[in-house]
């Protein structure tokens, strides 16, 4: 078959559908009619909310003949509280205060007044206890930095570092995954040693106390909880498929195991306390327990509709905090647990939502451009960590 024959055959195999065109135009036209003309600083949220609201009017006609219409989910751009304020065009004061650690073309610290400082071209970074220092990694190098980027110490690993975490409360230990190995060092960078085989794709999680108990995933995909100082494994699960994350509840009593399709709540001995599956057709992108109280923020995505939701789970109850088209990034809790920072790459925004509803939603636009070093291509931040004030 010649290329020309193939070209002609493809065109014959995919004829136009006038009815589909008409239906689609009705939806697009209705969305366009609600379009807010762009002034010098475009405001995403009213546009997206307006598009969603206008699509409600068209969804009845569309749904009858296009049963898999994605418009239905697109419609559900829901904001807790006042229905979506105008977005601030740039980062200023951080709602709720505190300090942010942002990973975007390097590691950045954002002070409470919005002042941004790039620490360097690191592949990733995480906070020390109380946000005094930053643990940053680049290739095989692990470094502890002051907030202004000055180096306190560094060590060279044997393999590229995927993730690193500083033990909470006293900061006397750091754990990191290099290659397929979990390693532990002292908080001053000394005493670096291998702990055991580990899987790089899931970050280890220290229990939020001074016990130096660490949850991590071994190479078989089993969740291990170990007291690293005594090298004692407290418990180990069977291999878990499609693991996304491990996270402890704020009181350290339970471990939340996050997979693509469900959340598992495990007790101090690894016993299963509760499980929660996501609705059919959805997958979990991220989940994070609140720093205080029983809530768990969960981001889940519907691939067929290409829409995402942020829900707050408390026991059996579930409350929708936000939904919108495209994907949402992993949320970050404010230090007080009152606010959630929700990255929205498709809209190039950060949303600050009240976890318990009510009040205004703060929105900051043009996020990618604000974390782009000179001469680099703009890219939306890959992660955000929210720490204590000061």
């Amino acid at each position: 078959m010649t290329e020309r024959e193939l070209r002609d055959a493809l065109r014959r195999a995919a004829p136009e559908d006038p009815a589909a065109r008409e239906r689609a135009w009705r939806v697009v036209s209705a969305a366009c009619a609600q379009h807010v003309p762009v002034r010098r600083r475009p405001h995403w949220l009213p546009l997206i909310a307006a598009l969603a609201l206008s699509a409600v009017a068209a969804v009845g006609a569309a749904a009858a003949s296009a049963p898999h219409s994605g418009v239905g989910k697109l419609v559900r751009s829901v904001f807790a509280g006042d229905g979506g304020p105008r977005a601030r065009p740039a980062l200023g004061r951080i709602p709720g205060g505190g300090t942010l650690l942002v990973h975007a073309a390097g590691a950045w610290v954002v002070a409470g007044d919005g002042d941004r400082h790039r620490l360097g071209a690191y592949d990733g970074a995480s906070w020390s206890p109380h946000g005094r220092f930053v643990l940053a990694w680049r290739g095989r190098e692990l470094a502890a930095l002051e907030r202004d980027g000055d180096r306190r110490w560094s060590l060279a690993a044997r393999a590229p570092i995927a993730v690193a975490r500083w033990a909470p409360v006293d900061g006397y230990r750091v754990a990191y995954v290099a290659g397929a190995e979990l390693r532990v060092a002292n908080g001053d960078g000394t005493g670096d040693h291998s702990y055991g085989p580990a899987r790089a794709g899931v970050a280890p999680a220290w229990r939020p106390d001074a016990s130096h108990v660490l949850a991590y995933v071994d190479r078989r995909g089993a969740v291990n909880v170990a007291a690293v100082d005594t090298r004692r494994t407290l418990w180990r699960s069977r291999p878990v498929a499609r693991l996304v994350a491990l996270a402890w509840t704020g009181d350290g009593d339970r471990l939340v195991v996050v997979t693509r399709r469900r959340l598992l709540l495990l007790g101090p001995a690894g016993q299963r306390l509760a499980g929660r599956a996501v609705p059919a057709g959805m997958t979990i992108d991220a989940a994070l327990p609140a720093p205080r109280g029983p809530g768990i923020a969960v981001v889940r995505h519907d691939a067929a509709q290409d829409g995402s939701e942020l829900v707050l789970l408390r026991g059996r109850r579930e409350r929708l905090l936000f939904s919108g088209p495209g994907r949402l990034g992993a949320p970050a809790w404010s230090p007080t647990g009152r606010l959630l920072l929700v990255p929205w790459p498709d809209a190039d925004q950060w949303l600050f939502l009240r976890a318990h509803g009510g009040g205004r939603t703060s929105t900051i636009a043009n996020i990618a451009a604000q974390f782009t070093p000179q001469g680099a291509r703009a890219g939306f931040p890959r992660s955000v960590d929210w720490c204590c004030a000061g």
């Binding site: 078959m1 290329e3 193939l6 070209r7 055959a9 493809l10 065109r11 014959r12 195999a13 995919a14 004829p15 136009e16 559908d17 006038p18 589909a20 065109r21 008409e22 239906r23 689609a24 135009w25 009705r26 939806v27 697009v28 036209s29 969305a31 366009c32 009619a33 379009h35 807010v36 003309p37 762009v38 475009p42 995403w44 546009l47 997206i48 598009l51 699509a55 569309a62 296009a66 049963p67 898999h68 219409s69 994605g70 418009v71 697109l74 057709g281 691939a303 067929a304 290409d306 088209p325 498709d346 809209a347 190039d348």
Partner: protein
Amino acid sequence: MPYAPGIAAPALDRSRRVLSGGGRVSEAALVRAARRGSEQAVAELFARHWSAAYRAALLMTGDRAAAEDIAQEAFLAALRALPSFDLRRPLRPWLHRIVVNRAIDWSRARALRNEVPAGTAADPSAPAAPAPLDDAIAVALETLGPEQRAVIVLRYLLEFTPGEIARILDLPRGTVNSRLRRGLDTLGALIGEDR
């Protein structure tokens, strides 16, 4: 760019489609006008790109309802992104990137649901009924993976160059060329068997 003359959405008034007194308006001008709220500009963009988007999605998915959803969502995504769209870039590759990526996602999700294309013989050993060439193409495309289907559709339906395809799909050019070669070989072998 494939366009089906004579097939226009009834909502479009051709007499209003020329925005500036004659001649074909540039795409950048249309995007600017659309940003300012011009429905005529949006209508013109829709008229220029809908057919190709729908047909590409149809060949990618083999499913008319999915193709309609995907093409429609691509236009809605384009509307959302208009305020920040870089006017130095052409709209067409950007729009088709959305279409192709969503079609790939849809195909993968369908595979996970273990759906089979309509018309699959209940007995796998039974020979497939002979089909006209154009249906044979659609069936042959189904045998390709979604990523391979994407490069075939982008190259031979939408007539993007391999370099443009590489940018649309974020792939190395060599990968695009090898997928094109293997896709053509597979299609040629399957279609050749039916002749």
